[in-house]
């Protein structure tokens, strides 16, 4: 099985690549590539959209690469290949982002990307560090994940969903911050599994084992 990490020149792909390679090596016949080539995306069995940076810049970078955006839509919307969005890659799944300006997202999960605005002035933005997950939904990718397990977050905007049933986990930061969202063959994580030590590596392994 071939897992493609989509390279749209956003953020730190190297650590995501290494984390996926590490977990793929423990499974039979798994290969991981980093690519922006639409043809390679079409050959992939599952897709990962990592991401660091501002929503409008990431969306623009995704659309600007010739054929990349179309190949992504084809793979996920038509062929229903398993998809994992990480951080801004997860936020891309929303209807709209409101960072700097209003930018349409992929609209795979109804909702908006809004600024984190704690009422308690002692709570800093970015929401940066380890927070404990409150798990509210069941999913094969969450198998073995326990309430209270910690994940590493670093972000200033968060996903406000229209339908909270599409949220599988959140963390407390004054407000509830969406941590894991899903719809059909698509799943998104606001935190960085590739930076969340054993908890993160476990989730990556589960994603590689997911056969929806």
């Amino acid at each position: 099985m071939l897992t493609a990490l989509i390279d749209y020149e956003s953020g730190n792909l190297h650590s995501a690549q290494k984390a996926f390679e590490r977990m793929a090596a423990e499974l039979p016949n798994e290969e991981v590539i980093v690519t922006s080539d639409p043809e390679k995306l079409r050959r992939a069995d599952r897709l990962v959209l990592p991401g660091d940076g501002a929503f409008p810049a990431c969306k623009a970078a995704l659309v600007e690469k010739t054929g990349l955006y179309e190949a992504l839509l084809e793979a996920v919307e038509i062929d229903a290949k398993p998809f994992l969005g990480i951080c801004v890659g997860m936020q891309m799944m929303a209807s709209f982002g409101h960072e700097y300006q209003t930018t349409p997202g992929l609209d795979w999960i109804a909702g908006d990307i809004r600024p984190i605005a704690p009422t308690d002035p002692r709570l800093k933005v970015p929401h940066m560090g380890w927070n404990d997950l409150v798990i509210t939904g069941a999913h094969p990718v969450l198998e073995g994940l326990k309430n209270g397990d910690h994940a590493y977050f670093v972000h200033s905007y968060h996903f406000v969903l229209k339908d909270k049933a599409q949220r599988l986990a959140h963390v407390e930061y004054d407000d509830e911050i969406s941590a894991i969202v899903s719809a059909g063959t698509r799943i998104g994580m606001q935190f960085h599994p590739e930076k969340s030590q054993s908890t993160g590596l476990h989730l990556i392994s589960n994603f590689l084992n997911w056969r929806p």
């Binding site: 730190n12 650590s15 660091d52 560090g129 963390v171």
Partner: protein, 253 residues
């Protein structure tokens, strides 16, 4: 609930750990990657590499170090030392750093923070502020390892770089660095209260109570220390247990 972070900091020069790390049986106490792996296993919340002899010539050594660390440690990594421009940020991020720390380049031209944050996002731009007490309740920015005064007020500077897009402040008290008498708490408090972003307290840690004070009295979101961990005075888990016992939310493993 978000947890307070403990960040061991490794000073490196020419790709080697300065002074070495002696808290576990490392084959090579001077290899930063081996030290990073040991801290990863010990449950550190983040790691920080500071290149204290950064020059243009040895840039590639630092990139290589970030790359090799990111290949083996699946935890957050901040890299600093001699970072001058958005191109340096990009190279370090591509190599595997999650956050990049500016120091003197931000003092010389705070707009470099805006350029970098606009490009890569505030979440990965740290500004390391080295400050000294010049009068009671007044702190000034010093550069060149604390030798050169700039006349710039530390609080004003912190507010400036945050307004330019810095996502975190790494605050080192130059009066305290290496003294083991504890953080400069009034300075830490003043900066933490002034800015909206997380502040990492640094400089002067000699005991576990100092780590507690940095958070409870200094208002820091994270505490950075070097020698108390490198020389095996305390383990990361001992530090976390001590802070948790003082009522600070910690990630225990």
């Amino acid at each position: 609930m978000l947890k307070t972070r403990i960040i061991p900091c490794l000073d490196v020069a020419e790709g080697r750990v300065v002074k070495g790390v002696n808290f576990v049986d490392l084959v090579d106490a001077g290899d930063p990657v081996e030290a990073a792996r040991a801290y990863d296993a010990a449950g550190a919340d983040e790691l920080c590499f500071l290149d204290i002899k950064a020059t243009h010539e040895n840039r590639s050594t630092l990139f290589d170090l970030a790359r090799r660390t990111a290949e083996q440690c699946f935890m957050p990594l901040t890299v600093g030392g001699g970072v001058r421009n958005p191109a340096d940020v990009r190279n370090l991020l591509l190599a595997g750093a999650d956050k990049v720390s500016f120091n003197s380049a931000a003092v010389a031209d705070p707009d470099v923070i805006a350029q970098s944050a606009n490009h890569f996002g505030s979440q990965c731009i740290v500004v390391a502020i080295d400050a000294k007490t010049v009068a009671p309740g007044k702190w000034e920015i010093f550069t060149h390892g604390g030798r050169r005064a700039t006349g710039i007020d530390a609080i004003d500077f912190a507010l400036t770089v945050v307004s330019k897009g810095a996502g975190e402040i790494l605050l080192t008290s130059m009066d305290r660095d290496g003294t083991r008498v504890g953080f400069n708490l009034p300075l830490t408090r003043a900066i933490a209260d002034a800015v909206s972003v997380p502040v990492i307290a640094s400089g002067g840690v000699g005991s576990l109570d100092h780590l507690v004070e940095g958070v409870t009295q200094g208002g820091a979101s994270a505490v950075l220390a070097a020698s108390i961990f490198h020389f095996g005075d305390f383990t990361i888990q001992e530090a976390k247990a001590h802070m948790a016992a003082a009522g600070i939310p910690m990630r225990m493993s």
